[in-house]
Symmetry: C2
Subunit: 212 residues, 2 copies
């Protein structure tokens, strides 16, 4: 199909497609005339993936390029995972983090098979450091409860990947799951907060007389 | 204390403090001379809170101003919650979301006390729509497992607030928890992914002979 049809089928404007081509996110079509190229279903699929990562997942163009390259590579799946994790994580210098915050996160992750360089370990330590600074002390196990929920989510993530058999589908699931999973969980957390809050504070039936 | 001491105590550079004063994130000090003001412990505490929300939580200055105003107000706690949720959520037009994605999220949230306008409901629907588009169909209950984990996290969040007695502390916990909780959970998820993945794929004891 021509560029105009690719745009119509994918729902991505022509100018945006041209931008993705220039940025090497999308492979060129097959040249059919000096100023014309032919695109196929792989272009449609790739365009949808790019849009998902950038528009919904909030990835920067350079980061999207990096994770797409990891999908296209034949890197071991663990490496693709590490690239996806790094891409969605801010770089944090461990030397800039308070020792007590690192000790605290290591106590939370006690027994987990996690490397010292895991971007999540450092990001969590920085949040703990910041909570300390604003006087939000973790006296009731809030962080441990988060860690427990994170384990459930990670098990769901790994089950999704394990259920697939071919490497390309696994790699795409790793990347999409890592990027959109954060957005999905944050969204569900807002809905859950409203629900739990309503259950506790607003759920007294109005027409009922309360007995002391 | 003077500006220089406020900077030393809080660890925030003078130029940044002046920026926060101009942006009305931080209240002015008490004027002691034409070009000098006196700052106290409330300024130190507020500076730490601002830094936490902006530098660690990633809030824009305008959004930080809005949630700080909510903390300072005497709005009911539910309203402060709604403001904090809205501030960390992208505005999403429900009319732009596929009907099937909305039906799907409503099936996931079935039985929850959640309003149609909850920013999380719409954001989750958009993720579902995007997952559909890239062919990541939810055949194994991945989203339901996320929702279950989100409930556990929301219960931990509400317990933190319920454990406090005064309104100002509750409001700050609502805001800090909403903003930094997302960052904390995403971080713990990365650590948990490495752990679960290592347990499943790399944890075969090397020195052990495996029997068939």
């Amino acid at each position: 199909m021509k560029m105009a049809e690719l745009s119509a089928v994918s729902g991505v404007p022509v100018a945006t497609i041209k931008f993705y081509l220039r940025e090497n996110l999308l492979a060129s079509g097959e040249r059919t005339a000096p100023n014309q190229a032919d695109y196929g279903p792989t272009h449609v699929a790739r365009l949808r993936l790019i849009r998902s990562l950038i528009e919904v997942g909030g990835l920067a163009v350079a980061d999207a390029r990096e994770v797409l390259a990891a999908i296209d590579s034949d890197l071991p799946l663990q490496d693709t995972f590490a690239i996806a994790q790094r891409t969605v994580s801010e770089h944090i210098d461990p030397d800039g983090i308070d020792r007590r915050a690192l000790d605290r996160i290591d106590a939370v992750l006690n027994g987990w098979l996690v490397s010292a360089e895991n971007p999540g370990r450092l990001a969590a330590a920085r949040v703990i450091e910041s909570l300390d600074e604003v006087g939000q002390l973790d006296a009731r196990g809030w962080i441990d409860r988060y860690a427990h929920a994170a384990l459930l989510v990670a098990e769901a993530d790994i089950d999704e990947i394990a259920a697939l058999s071919d490497r390309a589908a696994q790699a795409q699931t790793v990347v999409v799951g890592t990027v959109l999973g954060d957005t999905l969980f944050a969204a569900l957390r807002r809905a859950a907060q409203e629900h739990v809050s309503a259950l506790r504070y607003s759920a007294v039936p109005r027409a009922t007389t309360q007995t002391p």
